[in-house]
Symmetry: C2
Subunit: 154 residues, 2 copies
């Protein structure tokens, strides 16, 4: 059996109300822990890091829009058809997002962040500190289409 | 309700058989897609990227070992007690891992990777290409203990 049951650790509060593709870096928001099972202790020490990695689910995307076949990123025919695991778009299996944001502060059970590309109300599944040692080892190589796609993203 | 049901997209095959903390970078392994619902098309174009980010679950860790309170990383009293979201260790809510590995190649429904810190049999929940634009914007700052912890990790 391949089902895995996870539990929301919190939710994005504030920031953008609807998914739009670009200019995310100016957004600020909070991640509020689910205090039915987590306390402020879970965030202790996180403010000593500059960045956090947030695992969340694009829950507003209908599961019927998940695509398993190759497609043009953002539907742009100028870019090649690539598989869903060669893209970072929303309509993917499990609808998981993983994004790095700036840590602005910790206030009790709220983590204040900047530049998180997740909308108000998004369920969060994990919060991890960014360690330089967990960044890619060796030079990052990527196709040209992905650089064009990201040109205005942040 | 805060439960989220996910479906395994594949499994780690090969590499290390048991969790050990250090020297992961010499490991090679494959991620085999679950072919009951995914095809080789899902990996199309991924080999044009140098690195992939893998979301997986530390399923061999008993849920009873998940810690929600602050603790010394790796139990080392020389390091400060920090919350579970200020660490990247296994015994965390949802037992999720997110790691960057090198892409060695794609062979049908198998993604060949180097330096993935997940053991043989680990269920995989997502595969994303690493785009330089999704790395931290701005300088990464982190406490000294985290650098000491990572000294021999890869």
């Amino acid at each position: 059996m391949s089902g895995i049951e996870l539990r929301t650790v919190g939710w994005v509060r504030g920031g953008r109300g609807a998914a739009e593709d670009d200019a995310w870096d100016r957004e600020t928001a909070a991640i509020e822990l689910d205090t039915s099972w987590l306390t402020a202790e879970a965030l202790q020490g996180l403010a000593e890091f500059s960045h956090a990695e947030i695992v969340f689910q694009f829950d507003q995307l209908p599961e019927s829009e998940v695509v398993l076949t190759a497609r043009h990123p953002r539907g742009n025919p100028d870019w090649p058809k690539v598989g869903v695991f060669a893209q970072r778009g929303r309509n993917r299996p499990n609808r998981l997002g993983v994004s790095v944001c700036r840590i602005l502060g910790v206030d009790g059970t709220r983590l204040l962040v900047g530049g998180l590309d997740a909308i108000d109300g998004t369920p969060v599944l994990d919060i991890k500190p960014v360690l330089a040692e967990f960044l890619p080892r060796g030079e990052v190589r990527q196709p040209d289409w992905s650089r064009e796609l990201m040109a205005d993203y942040w």
